[in-house]
């Protein structure tokens, strides 16, 4: 009896989620249809594999960005933090085991995240300003650390594991970066849907004062999304360095915008408190497909950038319209 009851609720919850994702889903389908018509290559297996591989870094970091946007914050520093992690991992590969180098780099990313979180939560600096600051700080650090040189780690000894991380395939067909983003996304879904962390992110973004007066330690919980994002930015930077074969202090440029766009296109509100975790996937796919099809059609990089800007504005306009309707 009780089991039955739960089942019906589950269904209504899922259909509710689907309903809230209607617009992004429709856009995704539309873009797929247009793309398949525009290029015969688009629907091939190899192109799809490539597309899914290329969205790895932005997808990994978008998962963190989503949790921050839920709380009503923003993180502009992810691209620079990814660069720091990338160059540090690449440098440390020379003298350390590849796993240790990667792990330490991810740790550095996490520390940046914690720093952002503490500034926002304890010192009450606006998230935009805080992360704008750490964005410059981290970028400077990446250049300083490498003396502005690109680090070619492929020549170092014992880097087979790191090569595997960027270019290997599990069971001979699943690229490792793809596997990593799928795992990160799965973890994020679990965190958002079933964990106390996810529950509290929504509460803080929806009404921080109500959450605080309910006895929730909002000060502590506001740090966590930034720490989580810092960790993922570190991981993203390591994966990027592993894929490219170099640790470049210029890498990850514009990553923050890619992530914010993906999450907002996926229906998450910039003002916090509302958004569905599945939206990350939809948003990231929409952006990846747009880039992919424009490349297939030989559209140069700069018009692509212009289009991305237009997409950000369109997505934000859509979300403000949605919010106005609610009131």
């Amino acid at each position: 009896m009780a089991g039955k009851k739960e089942e019906t609720k589950e269904l209504s919850g899922f259909s509710q989620a689907l309903k809230s994702q209607m617009i992004p889903l429709a856009v995704l389908v539309l873009i797929i249809v247009i793309s398949s018509a525009a290029s015969p290559v688009f629907l091939t297996k190899s192109n799809f594999e490539n597309l899914v591989l290329q969205m790895a870094v932005s997808m990994i970091v978008s998962c963190g960005m989503f949790t921050i946007l839920l709380t009503g914050g923003i993180d502009l520093s992810v691209g620079s933090v990814a660069a720091v992690a990338g160059v540090m991992a690449s440098t440390w590969l020379e003298s350390h085991h590849w796993a240790a180098a990667g792990f330490m780099a991810v740790l550095v990313g996490t520390l940046f995240g914690i720093l952002n979180g503490l500034l926002v939560s304890k010192l009450k600096v606006a998230p935009f300003i805080t992360t704008l600051g750490t964005m410059y700080f981290a970028r400077g650090m990446a250049y300083w650390f490498t003396s502005a040189k690109t680090i070619q780690w492929t020549g170092f000894d014992n880097v087979a594991g790191f090569k595997m991380l960027g270019g290997g395939r599990l069971f001979g067909f699943l690229p490792v970066p793809t596997l990593i983003w799928i795992l990160v996304f799965a973890l994020t879904v679990i965190l958002i849907k079933f964990s106390k962390f996810g529950r509290i992110c929504y509460a803080i973004g929806g009404n921080e004062e109500a959450a605080r007066l309910s006895g929730i330690k909002t000060g502590f919980y506001k740090v966590l999304p930034y720490a989580f994002t810092g960790l993922l930015a570190g991981l993203g930077g390591v994966v990027l360095a592993a894929r490219l074969g170099v640790g470049s202090p210029a890498s990850g440029d514009g990553l923050e915008m890619d992530c914010i766009t993906a999450v907002v296109v996926g229906g998450t509100s910039l003002s916090g408190g509302s958004g569905n975790v599945l939206g990350i996937l939809i948003g990231a796919f929409i952006l990846a497909i747009i880039t992919n099809i424009l490349n297939l059609c030989n559209v140069p990089a700069y018009p692509q950038q212009m289009l991305k800007g237009a997409i950000i504005i369109a997505a934000v306009i859509l979300s403000t319209i949605k919010e106005k309707k609610k009131q």
């Binding site: 009780a2 509460a203 009404n207 605080r212 007066l213 006895g215």
Partner: protein, 496 residues
Amino acid sequence: MNRILSLKGIEKYFQAVHALKKIDLDIYEGETLALVGENGAGKSTLMKILTGAHKKDAGTILLNGKETEIGSPLQAKRLGIYQAYQRAEYVPELTVAENIFLGEKGYTKGGFVPWKAVYAKAQQSLDEYGLPIRAKTKMKDLSVAQCQLVTIVKMLRQNPRIVIFDEPTAVLSDNEVDILFRMIEQIQAAGTTIIYISHRLEEIFKISHRVAVMRDGAMVTVLENKNLTNDMLVNHMLGRKLTTMFPQKRKGPFPEEAIRIEGFTNENIHDISFRVGKGEILGIVGLVGSKRTELARAIYGIDRLESGSVYMEGTPVKIRSPYEAIKNGIFLAPEDRKGEGVVAERSIKENVTYGDINRFFSFGMVKRRQETEYVNEIKEQIHIKAPSIETLCRQLSGGNQQKVVVAKALTAKPKVLIFDEPTQGIDVGAKAEIYTLIHQLAGQGTAVIVISSETEEAIGIADRLLVMREGRISGMLTEEQDMTSENIIAFMYRSN
């Protein structure tokens, strides 16, 4: 006399709440009409319809005998209807003169500010109304009261035909009240029509020609200000008592102490001490501005204390945040439901379990079945009307939102539960249910503190009543027979 404004059958609903019930009112040109009534009687709502801030749901407004629709605040101003607000709005970084001229046509000439003229004209206006303020002073350097007087001068420069004052003296000292009254006399002499809302009855006797009394959203009567007494007005304001709404009180005494407050003092409250026994309901009443909510915030660790201590069941405790308050067994159901009570975009289920979030999670992961069963149970128990526990709080009526807040409070299992305006803005049926819930809680041994603006409600529900005035305790009524509106009002207004 010429009827400048004539209201006929004005109705206003806020969802289920019938805020204004067929209001008929005539206002004559040049008169000063006082508007009185308890908090929530509908005075402010009625004024908001006149100033275009709210739209009426039915009825007609005749301005000088001509039917008029007041669609927006801007339109109201074009018609010459202006309001002086309780909380003045101004730009603190600009000077008094700039604030006075902001939005006026003569402020700029060809895109530039003719400073000399602006300062001279502003100073002239200030002098005209007897304000001892220099036009070149920055607004931020003035006191709150002075700012309010400046914004009134700004308003009067527009030559309004009808001026609405809503509690203008709430933040003013005696000296400033004198200045304000001289201003009012001046505009009375100039033939401007005034609508004056105040809780301070002696002011009303002093300046008004007629007094309109509102109660529960209806216009009760309009009296000539001749031979009026305090008692007469108060009787009209309170009306008959609806005692049937309230459950039977449990007879005290309540010897076991749940909470004791000693010497609570901060910038808002002064030397407040009281105790509440287990199972007792303490009512706290007072006028707007008597700092009841600030007392609750201090107890709950939101606002800092300068001095004072709290004892829970006789043991001193330190409370510096809501988190610590809850850990020590205190829970606050706040006044501002939308702003502080519920997370509107989340479900009933999530809002309820915020009250004790750790109970429903193990190793950080939700115990779904336990949570669902618990919330379903409590939803039935306190009759939250919604299709499912997944319904978003935004979609609920005010009464049901309040029940969600109550459910959250119950989840926290507090020893002391503070309700700040538990029935504000909810309909009569839901009110009675909330009262029953409060009594059930007390019956189970919870100490309950109810802050209320409705005297009738406080009398109906509380075992003891604490009256506050300007941040201090002005009276404590412990005996049932002493808990009368007359006594409460005497304490509320005493020495003023």
